[in-house]
Amino acid sequence: MNSRLPTILNTTYLTSGLSRGFFEFVTRVGEARSKQEEDRYVSQEIVSLKTKLNHPDISSRKIRDYITRLIYCEMLGYNVEFGHIHAVKLAQSAKGLWDKRIGYLACSLFLHETHELSIMLINTLQKDLKSSNYLEVCAALTALCHLLNKDMIPAVFGLVEEALSHPKDIVRKKAVMVFSRLFHDAPDTMIHLDEKFRQMLTERDPSVLGSILCLFLEFIKADPNKFKDLVPSLISILEQVLDRWLPRSYDYHGVPAPWIQIKIIENMGLLARDDEKISSEVGPLIVHTLRKAENGVDAAYAIIFECIRAISRLHPQTLSTIIHKSPNLNPLNVITRFLKSNNHNLKYLGLTCLSEIDPMWWIEGEWWGEEQMNIIVDCLEERDDTLKRKTLDLLYAMVNSQNVVVVMEHMINALRTISTTDEFSRLLLVNRIVEISGKYPLNLQNKDYDKAVDSTFLIISKSIESKEKSEEIRQYAVSEAIKILESDINNTTKNLTSWALRILGEFVKSTELQEKIYNRLCDLLTQVDYEIQAQVITTLLKCVSKMKYCPDNIIECVAKCCQSSSGDVKQRSREFIILSKDFVLLDKIIKPYENFDDFTIDESLSFLDNFVENALKNGAKPYNRIPITREDTNAATEIRYEAYEKPNMTYFPKQIMTSLPTYDDSRLSESDRDVLLPNDRSNQSSRGVGPPVTPGQLAWFGVTQEHLPPENVHEHTSLLADSQEPNYNDYEEIDSNRQSVISLIPKMKLQPSTQSWSRAGYKPVNSTESDKFIKYNTSNTRSSLRSSDKVLSIASVTSKTTMTPEKEKLASALFSGVGTSDPGQ
């Protein structure tokens, strides 16, 4: 911006068509260095505009200018309500097209459908809709799209209907858009126009076609059955588009009319839902569209996305034929391409597509494999928030009885890290967690349930801090808890009861505490087992601390518990009896849940130091620690320079002694040697006898005598016998061999067992499920994991991070059970 030149000579000014005053205003605001400066300029301008607009007689040129300035101020975020009426006046009294345009623009920006002033425009709009100048009709229709509300409908309906048959296609197009807007407000009024709209599907002008398709999308969403007869015409239109019958100007980067394609596919997907006949007609065409769109442009990806969405809605029969036809032609292969790409948008697309498709179709080997698993696990830890959330959505979609534990863990972690202001996502996560824990209660062990309960506490306490809706939540939680406790205690699970007790203890207010709650708690003491008893006592303690008053019957009940055989209950009941009399002490002890994170536990018990000192002074004996180490502790701390004695042969029977496992090259495969302890290759000849291996240990590793390879006993003894003056190297070898022997034992011929050891750790196999599962899992483990480094190396070329063993474990845990028909679902 040349600020040195006077405004008149400034080229930007000359080409902008704005008035000089406005231009200078905009420049000043743009160059303002601070928000306060900008505020000052704009408020000055608004004040001057107010006065200027209130003048009775302003030329149209000036009022155009003022209204434009008003638009500008409103855009910056300032309140210009006084100007709304002037905008309406301008639109009403506009003499020329330009004034009208600015007036309508201002109105559509300032007003909204429920604004009172919009009614004043009805007359103007009607006049313009009847005008012979098609531009005026267009302007009116455009404004109508923004301002339409229920009161206006009867007045303008007829005119808009007429516009549907206007000779100019632009007018027709805009009229259709008005109707699509109208459909939201008053769908019933449009029923008689059904025929007319269907006829318009045969329109020659592509833009009108586009808008009709939008309209039909709305119709079909509301009621698909009525429009199933549209399928043939939709199919023919799509085929024409794909064959490039539309004029060239509708091409977008080489893709013919992508928007129309997308709309048609969306329509077809909705129509084909749950309907086999339509699915079979429509399915092949969608696949064909997908193929044509694979030319790598952005618009093409949008089409592919829509195709996959539509495919996911098809009837399962059709879907299975499409997928199983041949693996190369499987349309779902594109998802793999998306996931592997480095571009975040494509990854997002891949994840979204995956979550659209039912996990039932994630069939191993055909298009779904370990690479995808790894990539998805990577996405969980991406810095990009969107990808993380999408992966969580995906996890939710594929939860089944096998991976529910892992999924829950991730969801709860995510819940902790999401900021407190983002209520919507927190709510969504909580709903999902609750849903999942309801569906798979048996698979979730206590530990995970605790985590889930903890997170609900976190949410409740944090929302109480935030004050909004806190009272509602709190009351609701407390009343639910009371309901649970009052119901028959034998019917409710232990977890639920303990949850209810905790809620009651933490969140009940003293005003709500009534006799009946106390009585109920006392009753519970007699009915439940030790764990719950302990919790009841603590809850009572918390209630008492809030009430600062303890009824006698409670003390009696609790006193009975002092005789309990459980140490925990005894302790708690005695504490209760003492604390219930001393409220000052009680206050210091009972802390509200929000401050839980500030809790630090002093493990050295330093606060008791004074007590200890006093006791010692008074003659108490100091605590005598009994050493747990062996007798010859002194010797053990130094390095030993002499050889150990020969091991006592009577430790274990001879047969095992002679057949200790050794590292024998021929037995092990190449990959194992590569994998474990590569430095051992040099130590092949030397052997070492490790610490005496008992028969029990050998049995644990599943090694039995018949499976052990023959070895050379002399080699063993020779090493030890010869080394009178062993140097460090020998010891290193021996130590490493010890290691190697022990760690290699599992690699020896193992008895066939369902436990498969692998680099990635123990793979859980659910033996209670059908055979299909076990077959799936075991066939998967060895082959895919052995070759997993090779797969990894390919994957690492395309993906940024390398897989750590933990991630592999996570991946295998997450995706176990996916892709098979889970009876639990």
């Binding site: 623009l105 586009g210 100007s249």
Partner: protein
Amino acid sequence: MILYLFVFSRHGKIRLKKWFHFFSDKEKASLTTDLTTLILSRKRAMCNVLEHGEHKVIYKRYASLYFAAGIDCEENELYVLEVIHRYVQLLDEFFGNVCELDIIYNFDKAYYVLDELVLAGELQEPGKKSVIKHINAFENACQLDIVTRNVENSIV
């Protein structure tokens, strides 16, 4: 359906703002500030899609301007990205090598172009040529109108 469209600069100043769906004033203000801060804090290589409450926001950066469109959950995200790109192409065609200054000083014209492209939250005109043709027709008609009025006034 596209719910709203913002165009803002790298410093968070709004250049264009259009609502296609009804939001209360408070919601409008909070959405504006939230989105500008969220989008400005995103890095270059990150996804172009942002999830904000119930809506998704698709944004793209063109030189010093960010174009952000909010959509509801059912819409195809890449489709909206293409709509944004189409809009920028149209502005380019209309203004000739459009830059931020053009949009600052000619925001009313930018609004007209937007109105021709997106109506009631849906793309109404996929073809570039027809949009430009229509807007130019409008412009010419306005100019003609002014001239005839001036002539009339001078005669009278």
